[in-house]
């Protein structure tokens, strides 16, 4: 059984962004637990760089997605499941935009501009504003956890298809066609 795959560029972007979003989310959670220290400063910076990269990559991904479309869902997919799949995917894309944006503005409002890789200064669009910083940081955190919950739902759906439905749907995101094993993404 050969399942039509997403275009290779989109597959690469998917897994790259999955790894990056996982690392960035973990850093974000860790940073809020750490005391002020050089390790915390490093983590905060990496977290911001990760967010900036994801924000940039999602535009690329949207372009690729619009240009190449998505492979069709299995014929037996119900209307509700179809709608749910599309809705979750759309909101995931929105999260890739909204979460970094909220974090970026929270950083600016805190009085810390973002300098990508410590080298490229990004635009300072708003000035320091402690009250706003607190609100934006809260928005960023709520959105990030919502994003995390949605990713879990996304992964749970993939697992359901893999092990309950056994329809090999995950092959759509495989790096190479693997008719023998639907898990062959490595």
């Amino acid at each position: 059984m050969s399942i039509p795959r997403y275009t290779p560029a989109l597959v690469r972007l998917h897994w790259l962004m999955a790894a990056l979003v996982f690392a960035t989310f973990a850093q974000g959670v860790l940073v809020s637990q750490l005391p002020v220290s050089p390790a915390m400063f490093r983590l905060v910076s990496w977290h911001k760089w990760g967010g900036v990269l994801l924000f940039g990559l999602v535009f690329l991904r949207i372009l690729v997605r619009l240009r190449h479309g998505a492979p069709p869902l299995p014929a037996g997919t119900g209307r509700g499941a179809r709608l749910a799949a599309h809705a979750v995917h759309l909101v995931l894309y929105l999260c890739f935009l909204a979460v970094p944006l909220a974090g970026y503005f929270a950083s600016l409002a805190k009085g810390f501009p973002v300098v990508l890789f410590g080298v490229f200064p990004l635009p300072v669009l708003i000035g320091a504003d402690p009250a706003l910083a607190e609100r934006l940081a809260a928005v960023h955190a709520v959105l990030a956890y919502a994003f995390g919950a949605l990713v879990l739902l996304h992964v749970a759906a993939a697992c359901k298809h893999q092990w309950l439905d056994r329809d090999g749907l995950i092959s759509r995101m495989a790096f190479a066609p693997a008719p023998s094993s639907p898990k062959g993404q490595s």
Binding site: F41, R42, F112, V115
Partner: protein
């Protein structure tokens, strides 16, 4: 009568270059440094200054600046709390930093240079800074900047000696409003 008048006039003309003090409300002591490549701005909210600047004869000037280290301002509240700790300014043991000028000279470009000794966290070192005298809105301003090595004064000790996260160089900017004529 003419001669004493001329003498008085000369004295009056000479006076504006002598400042009686510093208008601390208008003056500022700002600094900036890099943290993971990110420029971070801060300032000291409280300092005392005793400055008598003689532009005509810079050598006759004097200046003493006392900075209350607890008055540090940084963008984040947790950074302010951190700065007070023993590894940084050790505010409990060293509540004040002091600069005492020892020499003033005039520079070729019309600016001036001050030499003196900065005592910070119990460590004294010679420092020097160029500055300009500027008149604006009826106030005379002394404006200058100098890079300071934080590590030379033990500011940011222990784990903070790592300059990859917090750079060693701190750009200090002073802007003193001279009051009185």
């Amino acid at each position: 009568m003419i001669k004493p008048c001329a003498g008085l006039l000369a004295l009056v003309l000479a006076l504006p270059v002598n400042a009686a003090g510093v208008d601390l409300a208008k003056s500022s002591l700002n600094f900036s440094f890099r943290q993971m490549g990110v420029p971070v701005a801060g300032s000291f909210g409280r300092f005392d200054a005793d400055v008598a600047f003689n532009a005509a004869e810079p050598a006759k000037s004097r200046a003493t600046l006392t900075v209350h280290t607890a008055s540090i301002r940084l963008p984040a509240p947790d950074a302010v709390a951190e700065a007070a700790k023993a590894a940084w300014f050790d505010v409990a043991r060293h509540p004040q930093a002091r600069f005492v000028a020892s020499r003033f000279t005039r520079l070729a470009d019309g600016r001036y240079q001050v030499f003196g000794r900065l005592t910070l966290k119990g460590i004294s070192r010679d420092i020097s800074a160029p500055f300009a005298l500027r008149e604006a809105g009826g106030t005379r301003w002394l404006e200058g900047a100098l890079p300071i090595s934080r590590l030379a004064f033990g500011v940011g000790d222990g784990q903070w000696r790592d300059t990859d996260t917090v750079a060693d160089t701190v750009e200090l900017k002073f802007r003193l409003a001279l009051s009185g004529r």
